[in-house]
Each structure stands twice: as C-alpha cells, then as structure tokens.
Point group: C2
Chain length 353, copies 2
C-alpha cells in the first residue's frame, strides 16, 4: 500500500469541469490529508480555482491540455479525437504509467470506459468492464454492479461480476466472505432468463471460498440489504439505480410540499428539524456518488456528470478508499482463486457502440 495516495483528476470532465472538480478535490483532501493530486486540463480554467484552495494547490500538479471529451461524444469519436491528448485520456494514462494510483472523472461514461479499456486493458479472464457502486440499505451498505457498463452477458459474465463485486465488498466492508445475490424478477428458481439461471447454478456448484451465494434477490431486496453484493447485467442495474434515485427525489418533493401546506406542519418541521436533516443526509444521492470501473488493470472512478463539488468529493473519497484498501490486488487474488470459471469468454454487448 502506497504511503501517499496519488489521484489523477480529469479536471475538464462533467457538465461544468474545473469549477466542480477543483473544489471537490479540496473537500476530499480535508478528509484524507494523505492525497496528492495530478490535475489534467486547461491551466486557464484550473489555476484560478486552485488559487482559492491553497492547501489543495500545495499537493497538486497541473498538466495542461485544452482537449476535452464532450459529454455527447460517442466512445469511438472520443477515442479518435481525444486519444493521447484529452484530459480524460491523460488522467487514465497517469494510472497506466504508474504516476497515479487511481483516476477520477465526471466525464462521459461511454468515453471513459472505452479509453480505460483501450489504455489499461482488461484483467485476465475478464472480457468486459463493469461499474460498481455502494448502495445504502436499511441494513448498512451493499455493493451493486453492473450499473451500466455492459448490456447483457452470459452466466460467466455474471460470475465475473460476482467475484469482482465480492472483492470490493470484502475490502470496503471488511468481510471474509460477502453474501452475493443475483438480481431477478422473482426468487423462485424458474424465474428470469437463461443466463441468470445458469449463473445461479454455476455459483452454487462452485461454492467459492471468497463469497457466499444466497440466491435470487428482487428489486426491493436491494434496499433491504438482502445481500452484501447484488449482481446484475448493466441495463437492469442502471435502471434499478436510477429508478431508486428518482423515487428518493420524488418523495423529497412530496415531503417538502406536505410540510409547506399548513402552519401546523411548518411548526412541526421547526421542532423536527434535526430529524429532517438526518433524513436528508441519508437520502442525499451525492453521498453515493462514485462508480468504480471494475475489470481493468488499474482503478478508475466515474463521478456523476451533473454533480456538485460536494458530490465530486465523494467520488474522490471512493477513489482514495479503493487505493487505500488495495482493491486491485484483492480482485486479482480472487480472480486467481475463482480460476477456470472465468476463463471462458463472456458473451456480452457493450452499453454504447
């Protein structure tokens, strides 16, 4: 484990770029004083922001580029235009060259995956990348993956997700043998498509020492904390995540308007302010910001494109923790342990073409 955690930032990524990335990094630095930053992007945009955060400036080095991947570029366009020159590429490349331990970007997801895959290459036995994130549940936190990197995938792909997700859960939550559930539309054995049923059989038959397969979990099981790791292909994982986020926002909205309706409820709000603050903190989607790209020879963290500095700071925190707890080594150990089950190539389709 390195003394200092060195984080490469795509300072041009996201809807706003440097004016969110730089203050976000500053917030994360207050929580993890052991970080050193490498910022890739336009000096003219980064420097004025850094001036406002002297502590950050003291541990940062800026590498200038004025090439940025647009949020609307197709992955193929991004690779063509931004390879070797864009802030996103350079941040990933710093990981490749060993100049940074992790790259964090709020840029275009498809482009980030394509560049990461092209430059870092996949781990042995893994064919397609996945995005994993921590999902707050009633019972604590769970790791959910894939949140949108790869659409579809056969039993071996789901198996690889189970192994990588378990590695992440075991380092993050300090678990010997995390429980793993497969997301499905019912808990009975006959439910779901062929791939899921085959993955269930495989997980049960292999009975890996690194994870405990507990069966199918339905969509409402995620929030119940039914398993430490919830595995699904990227389409349904993304839909689940966003449906949950949308519902949380919808309920905040209802709560706000219910409270504002009468003077009695407004008085009640004043008394219960602490409770509402606790609730808001629990529901704050920016706190679950930071998806980890798994399956690569290197760690890359994807932040929401539309997040604010507070949210970006959480993505930087995630990057810090992945390095601090040495996720990559753990995944490699697990893959070696998982062995031949992952040798066969999965049959999946990338999320974007």
């Amino acid at each position: 484990m390195p003394q200092k955690v060195r984080i490469a930032l795509d300072a041009m990524g996201g809807d706003v770029g440097a004016s969110v990335v730089v203050p976000g990094a500053a917030i994360s630095l207050t929580r993890h004083p052991g970080i050193e930053f490498l910022l890739f992007g336009d000096h003219a945009l980064i420097d004025p922001q850094l001036e406002k955060h002297p502590a950050l400036k003291a541990v940062s080095r800026v590498v200038h580029t004025d090439v940025a991947v647009s949020m609307h570029d197709k992955p193929s366009q991004a690779l063509r235009r931004g390879r070797k020159t864009s802030s996103m590429w350079l941040a990933i490349d710093a990981v490749k060259k060993g100049e940074a331990d992790v790259a964090v970007s709020a840029g275009n997801t498809g482009a980030l995956m394509a560049m990461a895959r092209f430059n870092l290459r996949m781990l042995r036995g893994i064919d397609r990348p996945a995005i994993a994130a921590v999902w707050p549940t009633i019972r604590g936190d769970s790791v959910v993956l894939d949140l949108g990197a790869t659409i579809g995938g056969d039993a071996h792909h789901l198996m690889a997700l189970a192994v990588m997700g378990s590695a992440m859960a075991s380092v993050l939550f300090d678990l010997e043998r995390p429980t793993v559930g497969l997301l499905n539309i019912g808990v009975e054995e006959v439910k779901g498509g062929e791939e899921i049923r085959a993955a269930a059989e495989l997980l049960r038959a292999m009975n890996l020492p690194q994870l405990e397969y507990i069966g199918f979990v339905e969509g409402d099981g995620i929030g119940k904390g039914a398993a430490d790791v919830i595995v699904t292909e990227g389409f349904s994982g993304n839909i689940a995540l966003k449906a949950a986020e949308g519902t949380a926002r919808q309920i905040s909205e209802y709560l706000r308007s219910a409270i504002a309706r009468t003077w009695r409820s407004r008085i009640g709000y004043l008394f219960a302010r602490g409770a509402f603050k606790a609730l808001r903190d629990k529901m704050d989607p920016s706190k679950s910001n930071g998806g980890v790209l798994l399956g690569l020879n290197g760690i890359v963290v994807k932040s929401h494109g539309g997040t604010d500095a507070e949210g970006f700071a959480y993505a930087v925190d995630v990057g810090y923790e992945m390095v601090h707890y040495d996720l990559l080594t753990k995944i490699n150990q697990m893959l070696d342990g998982g062995g031949s089950a992952l040798a066969q190539a999965p049959n999946a389709q990338e999320a974007v073409s």
Copy 2:
C-alpha cells in the same frame, strides 16, 4: 359499455385468499356501487367472510371449487393441475364465456398469465402478454409496462407495448395522444441495446396518430413523469418497479426512526401529523396495486399476492375502470390503426418457463 360491471374474483388467490379478497371486494363496492361479483373458490372459506359484508353478499354469487393454484406452482404445473377446475381458471373462464367483464386474481403471476393466455388467447398481432400498471409521478400518473410478463423482446414487441400502453393511458387519463418514452440507460441515440434503438426508429418513422413518441427516458424519468407511457421489456420493468417500491419503504423506515430519535422531533411529528399522513398516502404502495394483463382477448387484473384488503380493493378498482372505460375496444381500435407494424411476430422469451 355495460350498465353493471361484472367482476370475476379468484377468491383463493394470493398469500391469504378469501379473507383478503372478500373484504377487499366489499371496500371497492362502496366506491363503485355498480359492481356485481362472481366469486370462485371454497364455499367454506368464502361464505363466513361474505356474512360480514351483507352489501357485498347481495350482489355476489359464489361458484364453489376447492382446487386452488399454489403460489409456488410453475405455470405448466398450474395448467396441468388447475385447468378447468381451479378458482383462477374459472375466474378467467367467466370472462371468456361473457359471464364477467374482467377477472381479478392475487394468485401466482406466471400461472395467471399462462391460464389467461391459454384460455383467452392473444389479440391479433400480439404475440406475448404484458403487465401494465399506473405509476404515481410528480406530474400525475403514468402507465408503465411491461412489469414482468415477458422477458426481452424485439422492436416489434416494444412497439406493441407502446400501442397497448397508450390505449390504457388514453382511456384512464382521457388523453387524445399520450406521450410515450422508451426506458433506457441514457437519452442519447447511441444508448441501449439494438432492440431499443430499432424500436425508437420504428416509433419515430411510423409517427402514429394515437401516440407521441418522445424518445428515451432514464430510470429517474419515470418518477418525474417524463412521459404518459413508459415502455420497457418485462425484466427491467419489474426491476424498476420493485427498486422504486423498495426505496419508498426504505425512506419510510428512515423517517420513522429519525422522528423517534428525540423528544423534539416527536413533538414536531404531532404538529405535522397531517403532513405525514398526506405523505404516507402518496407513498402507499397498495394504492398502485393492480397490474393489467394486456394483449389478451379479455381483461385480467393481477393484484400483489401479499396485499391486504385495502390493497386488493385497489386492484378491483382498476378492473372496474378498465371495463367502465372500455379498454379492450380502445386497444383493438389502436391495434387496427397501428396496423402492419405489429403484424410481424415479436421475438421474446416468456418470464417463466
């Protein structure tokens, strides 16, 4: 439109059966005095319940059977064991024979679909059934389908869902040309699998007079009310629904514990009780109970298996409304209008085998 709405009930369906179904019907009857009920199931279980609800008893006829489909039967088992004899089959058969206008069951979803399909047959041009439900959003209600009847499906299947969902939205919400969105993992044209992109092209190219296609909608767009009709294949639809329900339950839980934490917040709660009641009403999942099986020559409504009488009453309400507003005629009109796009057979896989 019939004077009286005649509803066939599978009185043995669901986790509890008659002790939820009968009081549920009684609640719905108070809201829709024009209902007549046909109850299928065990006299010994139904009659004592009916005695408690004289108004319901006065408009009900009980048809005895002691054969019930179990919640754990595979569809094929249910068909083999329960065909022509089970309460579920008989309720559907009443629709087939014209003795009832709609059948409502809280029984095993796979069995209900298999029996409905076997007995009622699919509408011309529709190959696989779908389950649609009303989803409360910030902007009002939307129709979301498929919630788990059919896994996967090509562009023509998604197109059929769009047409049927629009028919349902137009009768329920009194809209001339409901807006339709395809659920996807991004709004850009390049996102999602081939089928979805092909469906988008088809919907745009056909520019049907009965619906306005507005593009891709992400998971968090459902709760925002991004479109009157949200279309997706059954796996992701089911996951979205349950992830949203799970999140709502999780937030209720947080709110409850936040309120209970301090005396100040408990006092606040007393003042704001009305607001909390309004919120609970909004979030009450039983109010969205009642999935409509679409694509069949007849109307069948599926209630949650684990619902209470209040929840079952909402499913009966849904059945009432579908008949009252003549959904089936509207769907048939739309399918005739939709024409040749639906003539090709979709390429889908049933949710359960």
